[in-house]
């Protein structure tokens, strides 16, 4: 139902080419540019040649369109049903936009039809008035490139005041929390839910500080494929940049990159696989695992 040429890169590219071809000065090189931008790496071998040869007789010999109008297509039922479904989500409502009239459309899914079963329970209060106000203030500041002054609770629960330039939102599906991506101050991220009050600073307000770079580190593991460990590990770490290789019949080597700030979380995640995963490098990561195991030894577990 969803894998259809109506949504294909080729149809979109041809639409873009025909629209551009209405302009009298457009060159063949420019039309090729649309293919590189909209389609796939080998599409240049097909799209323009098919249009030029008359296989797809939509352009004249001089590359002007045979059509009278720039191509457009109404939304499909599937697209409308998905729009209706997302319009019901409280996170989407944060953006404060009006959806088009879809009263005769049934949603593709509702919150009754699916459940995220391993999301943490202390997610952000997406329907809280104060939270919504802060989100929209940040949205305004991001779009208008404005610095903000924020009063918030830090990790220790102490009220602090900071100034920064918000540049985007980062949402964690596992934590169900939104963080503001920032520049102009030494911290790169701020939890939106910790904000108590915020205001935009003047248009000419500049903040020159550059946040400390989030350093990427690498860890190497050996996976012993027992109890389906290989698949579980590979899926669990699928969101990271990684490279795997087979060592022997049931052992695999996995190198993964992670952000230094997430190191404790990575240690915990590696431990969750028990003896089926062994860290082989670097030594400092190994030491963190060892430290936890040494502490565990003193817990009297029998």
């Amino acid at each position: 139902m969803l894998f259809s040429e109506l949504y294909s890169a080729y149809y979109n590219t041809v639409a873009a080419i025909i629209s551009a071809a209405f302009s009298p000065d457009v060159s063949e090189k420019e039309l090729m540019g649309y293919i590189r931008e909209e389609a796939f790496s080998e599409s240049v071998l097909t799209i323009l040649p098919s249009l030029k040869s008359g296989k797809w007789p939509l352009l004249n010999d001089d590359l002007t369109p045979k059509l009278s109008n720039a191509p457009s297509m109404p939304l499909t039922n599937l697209q409308k049903k998905w729009l209706k479904a997302i319009s019901l989500d409280p996170r989407v409502k944060l953006f404060g936009v009006d959806f088009p009239e879809l009263s005769d459309t049934e949603p593709l899914f509702t919150s009754e039809d699916y459940r995220i079963y391993d999301r943490y329970a202390d997610g952000d209060p997406f329907e809280d008035e104060g939270y919504i106000k802060h989100f929209r203030m940040m949205l305004y500041a991001i779009k208008n490139k404005r610095a903000v002054k924020v009063s918030m609770l830090n990790k220790r629960g102490k009220r602090v005041c900071v100034k920064f330039i918000p540049t985007g939102f980062e949402y964690s599906e596992k934590d169900d929390k939104i963080r503001i991506v920032a520049t102009g101050c030494k911290y790169r991220h701020f939890n939106l839910a910790r904000i108590k009050s915020c205001s935009c600073l003047g248009e000419d307000y500049h903040l020159e500080v550059v946040p400390k770079e989030d350093i990427k580190k690498e860890v190497t593991l050996i996976i012993t494929d027992e109890r389906n460990a290989l698949e579980r590990v590979m899926l669990h770490f699928a969101h990271l940049e990684k490279q795997a290789e087979k060592i022997d019949e049931n052992r695999y080597l996995l190198r993964m990159k992670y952000y230094e700030g997430d190191e404790t979380e990575m240690v915990i995640r590696v431990l969750s696989f028990g003896p089926n995963v062994q860290v082989t490098a670097p030594e400092d990561f190994k030491a963190l695992i060892k430290q936890r195991l040494t502490m565990q030894k003193s817990c009297g577990l029998r």
Binding site: K80, D89, P100, E170, E173, E241, L301
Partner: protein, 415 residues
């Protein structure tokens, strides 16, 4: 047939995509079940769609191909591109643009004959379409909702559906495409918008579900219409897919490994079962509506109170008991907070200022064990009703002591 970067059937490429993205260590010769020609074609296609993410390594077994994506820095799921590679005929694409050019606004209505003549004139007779081809295409487009029909006497008039303005939705479409089910549809919508920079990025972001989007959308369709379905279900160790008839009830999604499971009622076996979406193919929605749908949903809701993961039973009394205790220091309240926010069922009990207990009754303790291990360094007691699993849990920890030379891995030394 000559190679093309477009494909007719997405099912063929699903396994390759998953293999290259999730695993990526198999060489060409290890794709034993596939022909080398097929491997070469599919690899070339994926490279054409996702070349920026494709990596290669040379091993003793040959060249390995894999996809490497840091989804925290990629604002749009790159795997969606694969779902934009559907093949079509020369007639399909020509007709598509010609029909919507003639029906350029919703007010224009034309009969089949008028459309045929109009297309002929528009294309200067470069290609001619017969009535049957055009009628079939219009029927298809009517089902998709992009063409409308109206009867005037004996004549059927065709017009384009009204346009929907989505120009103000770019931010929500960017966000929802990555976070909500069937996000690829958002990506299709995004393709219709002006080019813009997404404001949203994502952490702990799993993207593999993209390749199962068609299955997911069909299942949602069946769930909302409360209909029976038949599916082909394979498995890791079941290469030959079996056809089964089910009542689909709910889709369970993991944000800690990206897996999606269908929870469905297997009428013949009178069981609630869980089916991984990546093992499902060929979903067919039947005409028959399940009259017991609401009742089954209620029974599932009761069962959900005992589900740690995706394993479920109709009878909520068929559970296993789990308890484990942890020790914290005075300044480690955040560990108790972790227990509270990460538990999916059960309860946390305070034993004293430094000791806490987690208690639950679940269908499958195995699903919970990885989570319990995340508390290694402070677990003081475990008690499972399944003693075999309890022993295994403790034995595994001892094995880890040995693996990391912590000492004391042997039975007697652990205290």
């Amino acid at each position: 047939m000559a190679y093309s970067e477009l494909i007719k059937n997405f099912e063929k490429i699903r396994a390759y995509m998953r293999e290259f993205y999730v695993y990526g260590f198999r060489s060409r010769t290890e794709f034993a079940s596939k022909s080398t020609r097929s491997y070469d074609d599919e690899r070339r296609r994926i490279e054409s769609w996702l070349g920026d993410y494709m990596r290669f390594t040379q091993t003793a077994e040959g060249k390995n191909v894999f996809l490497s994506v840091d989804s925290r820095t990629t604002k749009h799921n790159p795997l969606y591109k694969a779902l934009k590679a559907k093949s079509f005929t020369d007639g399909d694409i020509t007709l598509h643009f010609a029909i919507f050019d003639l029906l350029s606004s919703p007010e224009i209505e034309m009969t089949l004959g008028e459309l045929i003549d109009g297309i002929d004139r528009l294309l200067c007779s470069a290609i001619s379409f017969d009535e049957s081809t055009l009628r079939k295409k219009l029927k298809e487009y009517t089902e998709e909702g992009i063409i409308q029909t109206r009867k005037q006497g004996r004549k059927v008039l065709y017009s384009r559906s009204c346009d929907t303005d989505i120009s103000s939705l770019s931010d929500v479409i960017d966000f929802s495409s990555e976070v909500l089910p069937c996000g690829v549809i958002g990506s299709f919508l995004s393709d219709k918008l002006e080019k813009h920079e997404s404001l949203s990025s994502f952490k702990h972001h799993y993207i593999t579900h993209a390749i199962d989007s068609d299955i997911t959308a069909t299942l949602f369709d069946a769930i909302s219409s409360r209909r029976y379905i038949t599916i082909k279900n394979a498995g890791k160790n079941v290469p030959e897919a079996r056809t089964i008839r089910l009542v689909p009830l709910k889709i369970l999604i993991s944000v800690q490994n990206g897996r999606q499971n269908l929870i469905a009622y297997h009428e013949k076996a009178n069981r609630l079962n869980s089916y991984r979406l990546d093992y499902i193919s060929d979903v067919k929605i039947e005409e028959q509506v399940c009259e017991r749908f609401d009742l089954l949903r209620k029974r599932l809701a009761k069962a959900e109170a005992h589900m740690w993961g995706v394993n479920c039973r109709l009878n909520p009394r068929h559970t296993e008991h789990v308890e484990f205790d942890i020790r914290i220091n005075g300044d480690e309240q955040f560990i108790v907070n972790r227990l509270e926010r990460e538990k999916r069922c059960g309860r946390v009990e305070k034993l004293d200022d430094f000791n806490y207990r987690y208690v639950a009754d679940v269908f499958d303790i195995n699903e919970m064990i990885p989570w319990i291990r995340t508390f290694i360094c402070r677990i003081t007691r475990v008690s499972f009703s399944d003693r075999r699993l309890e022993k295994k849990f403790i034995k595994d920890i001892k094995k880890m002591y040995d693996m990391y030379d912590v000492g004391g891995g042997d039975e007697n030394a652990v205290q």
